[in-house]
């Protein structure tokens, strides 16, 4: 099995991540290996591991992975990480997740600095959620601290954690579209003019956004003309104070928007109790018989069925376009569920491939297929609201899932009817028969169940050719 460098791992001159079959190997080049040896001997990693702040690793001998020597002959040391079943990105996280990822980054930086190490970069792309728990995955980010050095990653932290959160906290504008549009994040010079005046005057915001933007605007060109310069000296205590101040500031931030329409859906949507029980039993039956390892719950809302699936699966990725509903879902599972990952995802406009050569950050479909896709009370939204033909939907489902539990909501259903309230009914093709025909193009229907007291129908279907 050849070793393939992870397409997102090319910036750090100290080493890279390689994929060897299903194995994930972090390889250190000579300078990186020197820093790694100091880090290992310090005991810092054990402390961070114990606190659940970094991804687990296992040291390996170079001879254990001969494929790597052919691909990267300069490598001096390697460690192996467990392979994560699903990678998520910051533009798919709701406010609370980005905030927790930021706090995790600062906590690692603070603990590292107390022991004489510094986090040399601070990006949410170095954080992954194990279920609902953020961990730092890039161990090569930790390197010995040189006395008098400022925190080089401070600006990066502001652009990718602090400023997006401030944008949403101060204006109510969601940060996800911005982060999706700019891998480098939101610069202080871009954020400062957007801030309401009463926020600009707060010491925390003034210091980290307004003052930083002003300095950037007025002095960046002077410094650029001078070429390479050593950094000004900043004492370690001062860097620690900066990290603590950022952490306190981050912890105080709250999203400005009230709970959205879909965040209230679960309470407002009144299935007949018998229909509700029958639907749960059907989904549970499918989970018991299929025993999926990874489940995607599309249109998860606040995660009712994701939590049901989490009893049977190793990982449930819940996705919904309603940012507030996903945030609420995350807050529900943050402390208890270790195998549920809530994400913001508009299925009519899912995350695309991004970054260098369009390979750095993978689109949604590239991160599948899931063993089972739950698509409950969603078809009418995609088909009627999104004008999506059944054929398109079914072919995409077959791309991202090996099996599917899907609910068909007829046009007469009050929820579907509601969608047509203000628009012309241009969906003569929207019938149960047409849906089944489309579904059978790519799937074999294993079970069909009409919900009592409702015209809705549930299907369990297995992708053809498996």
């Amino acid at each position: 099995m050849p070793a393939v460098r992870d397409p997102a791992s090319f910036r750090d001159p100290d080493g890279s991540v390689y994929l060897v079959g299903e194995r994930v190997i972090r390889a250190f080049l000579p300078e990186g290996a020197r820093k790694w040896a100091i880090l290992k001997a310090s005991g810092l990693l054990e402390d961070l591991l114990q606190r659940g702040l970094v991804l687990a690793y296992e040291e390996k001998a170079l001879k254990d992975i001969p494929e790597l020597q052919e691909e990267a002959p300069g490598v001096c040391a390697i460690v192996e990480h467990p392979r994560l079943p699903f990678l998520s990105y910051c533009y798919e996280w709701p406010f609370s997740m980005l905030k927790d990822a930021g706090v995790c980054t600062l906590e690692v930086a603070e603990r590292a600095l107390e022991r004489g190490f510094i986090l040399k970069d601070a990006t949410p792309y170095n954080i992954q959620f194990l279920g609902a728990r953020p961990v730092l995955i890039d161990l090569a980010s930790l390197e010995p601290y040189r006395e008098g050095e400022p925190w080089r990653a401070y600006h990066q932290f502001c652009c990718l954690f602090l400023n997006p959160l401030l944008l949403e906290a101060t204006t109510g504008v969601p940060f996800q579209p911005w982060l999706r549009g700019a891998l480098g994040g939101l610069r202080p010079t871009d954020l400062a003019p957007l801030l309401p005046w009463r926020w600009r005057m707060r010491p925390f915001v003034f210091t980290h956004v307004v003052a930083q933007a002003w300095l950037e605007r007025h002095f960046a060109s002077d410094v650029a003309q001078e070429g390479h310069r050593p950094l000004p000296r900043v004492e370690r205590e001062q860097v620690l104070r900066l990290l603590r101040s950022l952490r306190r500031g981050l912890e105080r931030l709250r999203p400005r928007k009230p709970a959205g329409l879909w965040a209230r859906y679960q309470e407002e949507c009144h299935y007949h109790p018998e229909a509700q029980r029958a639907k749960e039993a059907f989904v549970e039956g499918a989970l018991q018989s299929l025993r999926p390892r990874v489940v995607w719950d599309l249109g998860c809302n606040i995660g009712h069925y994701s939590l049901l699936a989490a009893r049977y699966a190793d990982l449930v990725v819940g996705m919904d376009s309603d940012i507030q509903a996903v945030d609420l879902f995350y807050q529900r599972v943050r402390e208890k569920a270790r195998n549920v990952l809530p994400l913001v995802m508009d299925l009519l406009d899912p995350s695309p491939n991004r970054g260098w050569a369009e390979e750095e950050r993978r689109g949604l479909a590239q991160r599948g297929p899931a063993d089972l896709v739950l698509c409950l009370a969603l078809v009418h939204h995609l088909a009627i609201q999104g004008n999506l033909p059944f054929g398109h939907l079914v072919r995409w489902l077959a791309r991202v899932g090996r099996a599917v539990v899907v609910e068909f909501v007829p046009k007469e259903d009050p929820r579907a009817h509601n969608l047509l309230r203000w628009r012309e009914d241009v969906f003569p093709w929207y019938t149960q028969g047409a849906f089944e025909t489309a579904l059978e193009e790519c799937f074999t229907i294993r079970e069909r169940f009409a919900l009592p007291h409702s015209g809705r129908v549930l299907y369990t279907a297995i992708r053809r050719g498996l």
């Binding site: 910036r11 750090d12 001159p13 040399k120 970069d121 040189r146 006395e147 008098g148 050095e149 400022p150 925190w151 080089r152 990653a153 401070y154 600006h155 990066q156 502001c158 202080p188 010079t189 210091t207 980290h208 003052a211 930083q212 933007a213 002003w214 300095l215 950037e216 605007r217 007025h218 002095f219 960046a220 002077d222 410094v223 650029a224 003309q225 001078e226 390479h228 310069r229 050593p230 950094l231 000004p232 000296r233 900043v234 004492e235 001062q238 860097v239 104070r241 900066l242």
Partner: protein, 74 residues
């Protein structure tokens, strides 16, 4: 140029650049938050800025011609 000269002369420095761009604003801000050294830098940075503004204004003053009353339009 002047700013950097002053910076290099009066304030301590640390090591070469890393692979992440710390950005001018981020670096100066940290230096400013750093107390006395930062304060010194602040004064010097502002001194350069003020001086340049002063020079610009100083040069601009004699260039302005005295206003003459506008002749009435016939």
């Amino acid at each position: 140029m002047l700013l950097l000269g002053l910076w290099m002369a009066g304030v301590g420095t640390a090591g070469p650049l890393g692979y992440v761009d710390p950005s001018t604003g981020g670096v100066i801000l940290q230096a400013l938050l750093g107390g006395m050294a930062g304060l010194l830098l602040l004064v010097r940075l502002f001194w350069g800025k003020i001086k340049r503004l002063f020079i610009r204004r100083h040069k601009a003053v004699p260039a302005q011609p005295a206003r003459k009353p506008t002749p009435p339009v016939a």
